[in-house]
């Protein structure tokens, strides 16, 4: 399993990271999508500590009235943190699009919704003069459980090196309400969807395998010998391999002596 974290130390590092990145851009405002779930609650709490609650805007972006409880949780938590929040219903544009281009695929509809939310966040980013905080965790990034150019799109990601089980620990340390911490994690793309249903295993199991693979640099055989079920190991390894493209910039065909993405190499944080 991923190591148990010291919540206070991780909070300190991540709050400093958020502050550093924002101050380098000369930007004091942050915004993020608030789903009513655990990851966005943790991210909002970190952002509120780093930037001050009044400088954080949570956007609640429901599809109609599909998930009333999550909307209530998101709004209540924003109120508790003292951050601003706004609600934008994405149903009109989603329904308009799919009435012209129907599909039976829930995944396709879900990806479209995730990208609609991204587009609203980026529009608000300009309206607010703020930067978008991403909420993808290490587990999701590794198995590719996210929509590329959707929920994976952001300006900075404070949580991308914490496994889901570690996000839970951090959430408990940060005092995220039990109502949010205890409910089944879901991408909220269709009723009844849960992360663990989609992935096929519990997060504890997935994180144990990922940690043995990434932290432990274990081979398939070593991970199985450590006590993980072979079917689960194979499925997780497949997901990691298949989702590699989501974790990197698209390759640029190299033609010249010095090319973007290959050997024209500058730091992200250059002198800002």
């Amino acid at each position: 399993m991923p190591p148990k974290i010291n919540g206070a130390f991780v909070e300190k590092v991540l709050v400093a990271f958020i502050r550093d990145e924002f101050s380098r851009c000369g930007c004091g405002k942050g915004l993020l999508g608030l789903s009513g779930g655990l990851d966005s609650a943790v991210c909002a709490a970190l952002a509120a500590r780093a930037l001050g609650p009044r400088n954080v805007l949570g956007l609640i972006l429901p599809y109609g009235t599909a998930f009333p409880e999550d909307v209530r949780h998101a709004a209540a938590f924003a109120g508790r943190l003292g951050i601003r929040y706004e609600t934008v219903d994405i149903a009109p544009q989603i329904d308009l699009y799919f009435s012209a281009h129907p599909t039976k695929s829930r995944v396709q509809r879900g990806n479209k919704m995730a990208r609609e939310r991204m587009a609203i966040l980026y529009d608000y980013s300009v309206r607010e003069g703020g930067l978008i905080l991403g909420t993808s965790n290490k587990t999701e990034l590794l198995i590719g459980y996210g929509t590329i150019h959707g929920d994976m799109a952001c300006a900075i990601n404070p949580m991308g090196d914490l496994y889901k089980t570690q996000v839970r620990e951090l959430a408990a340390y940060l005092g995220i309400p039990a109502a949010i911490r205890k409910k089944a994690p879901t991408a909220g793309l269709w009723p009844g969807q849960t992360d663990e249903g989609d992935i096929g295993f519990a997060y504890d199991e997935v994180d144990a395998i990922l940690c043995a693979l990434v932290e432990g640099r274990g081979s398939r055989r070593e991970i199985i010998e450590a006590g993980n079920a072979p079917a689960a190991v194979d499925r997780v390894l497949r997901m990691v391999r298949a989702s590699g493209f989501k974790r990197m910039m698209p390759p640029i065909a190299k033609l010249s002596i010095r090319s973007v993405g290959h050997d024209f190499l500058y730091p992200y944080d250059r002198g800002r």
Partner: protein
């Protein structure tokens, strides 16, 4: 002697801003009557330079910005990290450390071990230093190391064998590992080496790391000073910027060497002959 460890957050790629930051700290250190101020690796430039390395490179002997620091070292010793491009090696960029004392550059060390692998890519952008030399500092014979140099333990041995009483390591060490402590796990690695080198070489080990983050990587802070015999004198905060002062009594080197006879019994000529045989065999 009073030592200041300047655990700063340099501005990436902005030499002018970093020179000002160094000068501010030198003034603070002067007010505190420090004798030695140690800044971190690449403190004048920031660490994650990549192709910026050539844009921020300078010749310490002639660069007016660097001369401002040298000019403000009257009555002080200062260790500064920067990218060096000397007149004799144009087009080569070294990750370098200068020891400055009382208005003069006494010594420049070019980093020998350039970590390249995992998150590190120094050898892609820097030329490699070729030598470890000690020099006479106002407080005693001293050797400089830069970050990874210190983790390759032969480097400290060379300084020890050439008579160092003080080994100064400047660093931009990222923090890695969050298994429960109130510092990054890798901070232990640096202290372990500091403790061991100060113990078995009966020297002072002064380690100045940086703070802040660049491109998502947080530097671990945790600068420290060990006195001979593995005695921790001071430790700066982990992760946060800091400026800590401590006193070091150089007579502790003599005391330690009377008590522990490692130095008296050292046989560099045997080590050298053995190493020579090994290196020659590997060349055949």
């Amino acid at each position: 002697m009073k030592i200041a460890l300047a655990q700063i957050v340099p501005k990436l790629g902005d030499v002018d801003a970093n020179v000002d930051m160094h000068l501010d700290i030198l003034e603070k250190a002067r007010k505190e009557k420090a004798d030695l101020v140690v800044f971190p690796e690449l403190g004048l430039t920031g660490y994650t330079l990549k192709d910026l390395a050539e844009e921020v490179a300078l010749d310490p002997a002639s660069d007016p910005r660097f001369r401002r620091i040298v000019a403000r070292s009257k009555g002080l010793s200062v260790v500064v990290g920067f990218v060096e491009e000397g007149p004799a090696d144009r087009g080569l960029f070294y990750n370098a450390a200068a020891f400055i004392a009382d208005g003069k550059i006494i010594h420049v060390h070019r980093k020998v071990f350039l970590p390249t692998g995992g998150i590190f890519e120094e050898a892609k952008f820097f030329a490699q230093g070729q030598d470890f030399r000690t020099f006479r500092a106002p407080f005693g014979r001293t050797g400089l190391l830069i970050c990874r140099d210190f983790l390759q333990y032969g480097s400290s041995y060379v300084h020890y064998a050439s008579g160092a009483d003080v080994i100064i390591c400047i660093s931009a060490a990222p923090g890695r590992g969050i298994a429960g402590g109130d510092a990054f796990e890798t901070s232990r690695m640096w202290e372990l080496m500091g403790e061991a080198v100060s113990y078995f070489s009966t020297v002072f080990v002064i380690y100045a790391n940086r703070a802040g983050s660049e491109d998502g990587v947080t530097f671990a802070g945790g600068s420290f000073v060990f006195a001979p015999g593995g005695r921790l004198i001071t430790r700066a905060s982990s992760v946060d910027p800091d400026l800590v002062f401590c006193r070091a009594d150089l007579s502790a080197v003599r005391e330690a060497r009377r008590k522990w006879l490692f130095k008296r019994d050292e046989k560099p000529e045997v080590i050298w002959r053995s190493l020579e045989r090994i290196v020659r065999a590997s060349e055949d």
